[in-house]
């Protein structure tokens, strides 16, 4: 290679090396390969060279052009990368800064328990029935074989509302059982319903709230026996508490609207509060075979149909399952409590996902 080309090569590579930014680099590129660049000038002069010299000089120039083009492009990419890095470095932020969060809210534990009950009983073919909170005396008591003088009524501290002209006595339902009555009047057997809802009794202390929730269940069909009642209740309790071997005990009892009647206990440890373990029993629900008089009051022939009903306290079951110590806290709407015991809206009670 002739000296001048060698010098050009050397000078250009040096200039590229010293070009600190894209502007300097561009000056080198234009000064070498641009219209009036040094290499472009040499190429242009090639035509004036002697023919025998032209071939070898032309080949040398072409080689030099390839080398310098590559060197310029390479250096350009390097400088571009450096420039980008410098810019990105200058854009660095404190990623620990807070962002506006719209955290998830929560579903109240009473709603959650109702959802779980609906899921479990739903799998057994029950549907959800509802009724009004303000009831008549007849629906809440008389139809349920609880006439006004009945001793059982003294257990119910009933809230009364003013009676409107010519209408029946109005009260806040003391139980969800009146919805049994409404269901039997509206629908012919077979019937399978559960009725979760608000109930009211004039009682207020550490273990009683003037408003609380019950879940009623009713099955009416041909050939229903107390065995079905036991099966249904045991299967529910074991699914709800997620304990396939939960001990369940049945004790004869009395309710005006069922016969035979029974109270249902589950095994637990009184001291630790652990459900399923221990040697103690804890009452969780009342139940029985629907009283023939109640069926007849609703126009269902007790000679042909039998049924069973049960009722349970939703708060009570919620407290047991979740270890909630205080009944009153359910209604205080203390944000800290709501968050602590609330359920995620993204995990609804679905049997296939597990309760």
């Amino acid at each position: 290679m002739s000296d001048d080309l060698d010098a050009l090569r050397q000078e250009t590579l040096t200039a590229l090396d010293t070009a600190a930014d894209l502007r300097a680099w561009d000056a080198v590129r234009v000064g070498t390969l641009g219209k009036s660049g040094r290499l472009t000038g040499l190429l242009r002069e090639l035509g004036r060279a002697a023919p025998e010299e032209r071939r070898s000089r032309g080949a040398a120039l072409n080689r030099l052009r390839d080398v310098l083009t590559l060197a310029i492009e390479t250096r350009g990419r390097t400088l571009e990368a450096e420039a980008l890095n410098a810019r990105l470095a200058s854009e660095r932020v404190d990623v620990t800064l807070p962002v506006p969060t719209s955290g998830l809210g929560s579903i109240h534990s009473i709603s959650r328990t109702i959802e779980e009950m609906v899921a479990i009983f739903g799998a057994m073919g029950f549907r959800l029935a509802e009724g009004p909170d303000i009831e008549t005396d007849w629906h809440n008591f008389s139809a349920l074989n609880t006439p006004s003088h009945h001793p059982a009524r003294t257990d119910h501290d009933t809230f009364y509302l003013p009676t409107l002209d010519g209408e029946a006595t109005r009260l806040l339902r003391t139980q969800t059982s009146p919805v049994q009555i409404r269901t039997m009047l509206d629908q012919a057997p077979p019937i399978r319903v559960i009725v979760p809802g608000r109930t009211y009794r004039a009682d207020h202390d550490a273990t009683h709230s003037p408003m609380f929730h019950q879940c009623e269940g009713l099955v009416v069909d041909r050939g229903i026996t107390l065995g079905h009642l036991k099966g249904c209740v045991i299967e529910f309790l074991r699914a709800y508490f997620d304990q396939p071997a939960l001990p369940v005990r049945f004790r004869a009892s009395y309710f005006p609207f069922t016969e035979p009647s029974m109270e249902v206990d589950i095994g637990w440890d009184r001291r630790s509060g652990e459900i399923g373990g221990g040697a103690d029993w804890l009452e969780v629900l009342g139940s029985g075979m629907v009283h023939p008089r109640v069926l007849a009051n609703c126009g269902i022939d007790p000679r042909a149909f039998t049924g069973f009903a049960f009722g349970m306290g939703i708060e009570r079951l919620t407290m047991l399952k979740n270890g909630i110590p205080d009944l009153r806290s359910f209604y205080e709407s203390d944000m800290r409590w709501l968050r602590h015991y609330g359920a995620s809206p993204l995990l609804p009670a679905l049997l296939h996902e597990g309760l």
């Binding site: 807070p98 739903g122 009004p132 006439p147 806040l172 004039a202 009395y254 709407s333």
Partner: protein, 829 residues
């Protein structure tokens, strides 16, 4: 109902242990509420006698006692084999030879201190136990030294047994149907029928009357009292009851008063047969009349005054009302220590009247509890004899002949059991013989039996079985569905019998059976509306709100801020003044909840409740939400106050989530008075249907309820939101041409709503305009006074081909014209 084990054993001959008895009680429906066994803690303590008491060699105040602890301690191991003397070091000043004492062997836990006794050495002398004071046993406060037992006490007895303290007190809950079990004898009968022994026979020995009773009965109110017996006992002396009677009453929580009173209490619990004794010397006239009250005041034995009204059944002498029949006697004619002559009352009172009177006057008594459940109608004659005998035995005196008024009411009833129904209803296979045996043990008598069933006489004490049906059919029930009592009564009676057969075996014996499935895959449990409510709950929770459950009633003062407070929705008997009015909306509960949270320092929060609101027209389901306070501050954001925009966004997201077509939604600037009048609105479908209110809450309401602002809320009426149309969806509109966007700024009057501009623009060319949105509102010096600039973005969606400039111009002109026509607005220059 309380009784002691020994009292039970008076009626029940049984080998069963206490634990077996308790288990059986629970099984047969006599729920055990508690057992108090004072004897259990005293089990190790024995009677003993000090044989010799010598001075301790190393301590002046101690004595070394040789103590005879008896041969049959049952424990063994105390002292050498065959030796019944042990050595005890004792510091009590009264420890002396010959004294009968209470001995605690090593290993005993001293009740008063909880310490466990060990064999030890006291000042170098071995002590093999302890001599106890009553205080150490937790039985008293005396501490003058060790307890001194009577001189002739045999050593080696259980002290609890010796002192009568080993008789556990059992408390059971009696269901309202089981009046017969409010008697120790009734409980014993049930246990015997359940296989726990034999009911001991009980027969009242007659006491011959020696004179005609100077006091007689007259019934003027036979509906309340069909039958009454009485008898005078004269020449008696009222005195304290003997120890056995006092201890029984004390054990079940009754205060012994005097023999005459204690005897009536005894029979109330022993036989479930309330009695009353009048001091005959304090009765005026020769006749007691059972009649309606007439407004007289009676001071009852509880020391309170009651006014007897005509619905009350009372017992009156010539001086006036002396007793509330079947509930409580009067103070004036009650017995005292000075009583020498009594008139015993033994009557049958109507359960319903007793229940209603007792409830009306709020008197609870053991007598009322039994009469309102029904006493044994066949028992009065025998009970009166038994009571007379006990009075004569304990108080002396002589008895008159019995006086009677009225007739024993017919109580005989029958019930038929078809054997197949035991399994058919009860789910348990029981042989006919076994079922009949159970019923006979309860007192039923077989009248006739065939292959299919058995006809039984019901025992007099079972007021709950085979009671004639009193139907109360639904008002307006289709006559075709109406059933007569003659149809229902036999079924009821049969259920009664099946319940008895099952109860005695325990319901745990019934094998559980899974309900047959209705469908292989269960159908939906929820109606579409119910499912929507569940979805609404989840949706609001995902928006960061926490669900609350508030009481349906709030204070009338608070309720007043949220609409009408009709008297028809005010509780007649509220439990507290702040819980007396049914709320019109759950939003009211949320505001109160926010105030409580704010008082704890949590003033920025989001709450919601899905619950009932009560109106005179009925109950509606409302989803209400409330946001309060300022969002948390952070760099670049100063912490915006909760506002109507949050509430509107919540309400609209909820409507969208419920499947409400958002195009059909309109907003009007009106809302109930609990919202800020200028910063609230109503979301509607069409002009009429209000679906939701939203807005800043009225500052006056917040101030009255003690909540510092800001606070914004919404109420969405879940019952009003139309059900989503259940039709097949049309294919989606997916044009393949690129949409284009044009911006417009209109100058409109200040009172023109954005909604009006948007609606006009949207309607200008429906086929091409796919979306119109507002992106800026400007009011200020750059626009004329009384006007504002609304900037909107319009998206045009070509469908068949790209639009030409001319077509685009044409659409833009239509938009400008439409907005101008609808609002008077013009393009901003």
């Amino acid at each position: 109902m309380k009784f002691t084990l020994s009292w039970l054993r008076d009626h029940l001959d049984t080998e069963a242990t206490q634990a077996e008895i308790l288990t059986a009680l629970n099984r047969i429906g006599l729920e055990v509420e508690g057992v108090t066994d004072r004897g259990a803690a005293l089990a190790p303590f024995r009677t003993a006698r000090i044989v010799a008491a010598d001075q301790h060699p190393n301590a002046d105040r101690l004595r070394v006692c040789r103590v005879d602890i008896g041969r049959n301690t049952g424990e063994g191991g105390i002292g050498p084999e065959g030796d019944d003397l042990v050595q005890v070091v004792c510091g009590a000043p009264n420890a002396r030879a010959g004294l009968s004492v209470i001995f605690a062997p090593p290993g005993s836990v001293i009740p008063a201190t909880g310490t466990t006794l060990k064999v030890g050495s006291i000042r170098g002398v071995e002590s093999q136990g302890m001599l106890c004071s009553l205080r150490e046993l937790g039985l008293g406060e005396e501490h003058d030294g060790i307890a001194e037992l009577p001189d002739n006490t045999t050593p080696g007895q259980s002290y609890a047994n010796f002192a009568g303290l080993d008789d556990p007190v059992i408390e059971i809950a009696i269901t309202p149907n089981r009046g017969d079990a409010l008697a120790v004898r009734g409980v014993a009968r049930d246990l015997a029928a359940a296989g726990l022994g034999r009911l001991r026979p009980w027969l009242a020995e007659t006491v011959e009357g020696t004179f005609a009773s100077p006091i007689t009965w007259r019934i003027e109110f036979p509906e309340a009292c069909p039958y009454v017996l009485g008898r005078t006992v004269r020449g008696l002396r009222n005195r304290p009851s003997p120890a056995w009677l006092r201890e029984r009453l004390l054990a079940i929580g009754l205060r012994p008063i005097s023999a005459l009173v204690d005897i009536t209490n005894f029979f109330t619990f022993d036989l479930g047969r309330p009695l009353h004794v009048f001091d005959a010397g304090r009765l005026a006239g020769r006749e007691l009349v059972i009649c309606r009250g007439g407004g007289e005041t009676l001071r009852a034995l509880d020391g309170r005054d009651y006014i007897a009204d005509p619905e009350d059944c009372v017992i009156a002498d010539d001086a006036g009302v002396q007793s509330f029949a079947g509930i409580m006697g009067g103070e004036a004619t009650g017995v005292s220590d000075a009583t020498t002559s009594v008139f015993i009352e033994c009557a049958l009172f109507d359960p319903v009247r007793v229940a209603l009177s007792g409830r009306r006057h709020a008197i609870s008594s053991d007598a009322r509890q039994r009469f309102e459940r029904g006493v044994d109608p066949a028992l009065p004659v025998a009970a009166l004899e038994a009571a007379t005998r006990m009075i004569v035995e304990l108080c002396g005196g002589e008895a008159s002949e019995v006086v009677v008024a009225g007739e024993p009411p017919p109580w005989q009833r029958e019930a038929r059991l078809r054997f197949e129904r035991i399994a058919g209803l009860g789910g348990l296979e029981v042989t006919p013989d076994a079922a009949i045996a159970s019923l006979e043990a309860l007192g039923f008598a077989v009248r006739a039996r065939d292959e299919a069933g058995v006809l039984l006489d019901v025992p007099s004490w079972r007021n709950d079985i085979a009671v004639p049906s009193v139907l109360d059919a639904a008002p307006g029930l289709d006559p075709a569905r109406l059933l007569g009592a003659e149809v229902v009564s036999p079924i009821e009676a049969e259920c009664d019998l099946i319940e008895e057969v099952l109860r005695l075996r325990g319901l745990d014996a019934v094998p559980p059976v899974t309900l047959p499935p209705i469908a292989a895959v269960p159908l939906a449990s929820l109606t579409p509306r119910q499912a929507r409510t569940a979805a609404a709950r989840r949706l609001l929770a995902t928006r960061g709100l926490a669900e609350c459950v508030g009481f349906s009633f709030i204070s009338r003062d608070a309720a007043e801020h949220f609409g009408a407070i009709p008297d028809s929705l005010r509780l007649l008997n509220p439990i507290a003044a702040d819980l007396d009015q049914l709320r019109s909306t759950p939003l009211a509960s949320l505001v109160l909840a926010a105030r409580r949270n704010a008082a704890r320092g949590a003033d920025a929060l989001g709450l919601f409740e899905i619950g009932p609101g009560f109106r005179e027209t009925g109950q509606t389901l409302i989803a209400a939400g409330l946001r309060t306070g300022n969002a948390p501050r952070r760099p670049g954001a100063s912490g915006e106050a909760a506002s109507l925009w949050d509430a509107k966004a919540d309400a609209m997201a909820l409507l969208d989530g419920l499947g409400m077509p958002m195009d059909a939604l309109g907003v009007t600037a009106d809302a109930p008075a609990h919202y800020h009048p200028g910063r609230s609105g109503t979301l509607r479908q069409g002009p009429r249907l209000a679906l939701a209110h939203f807005g800043d809450l009225h500052p006056g309401v917040l101030q009255s309820l003690g909540l510092d602002g800001p606070a914004a809320g919404f109420e969405l009426f879940l019952d009003t939101v139309p059900d989503p149309k259940r039709r097949r969806r049309a294919a989606p509109d997916l044009p393949s041409f690129q949409p284009l966007t044009r911006d417009f700024a209109f100058l409109v009057g200040s009172d023109v709503t954005a909604e009006a501009v948007l609606r006009a623009a949207r309607g200008a060319e429906r086929t091409l305009i796919s979306r119109v949105s507002l992106f800026d509102v400007y009011e200020g010096e750059k626009v004329p006074h009384g006007q504002k600039s609304l900037a909107i973005e319009v998206v045009l969606q070509p469908r068949e081909r790209s639009l030409t400039e001319a077509e685009i111009e044409a659409v833009c002109a239509k938009i400008v014209a439409a907005v101008g026509k609808a609002t008077g607005g013009a393009l901003r220059g």
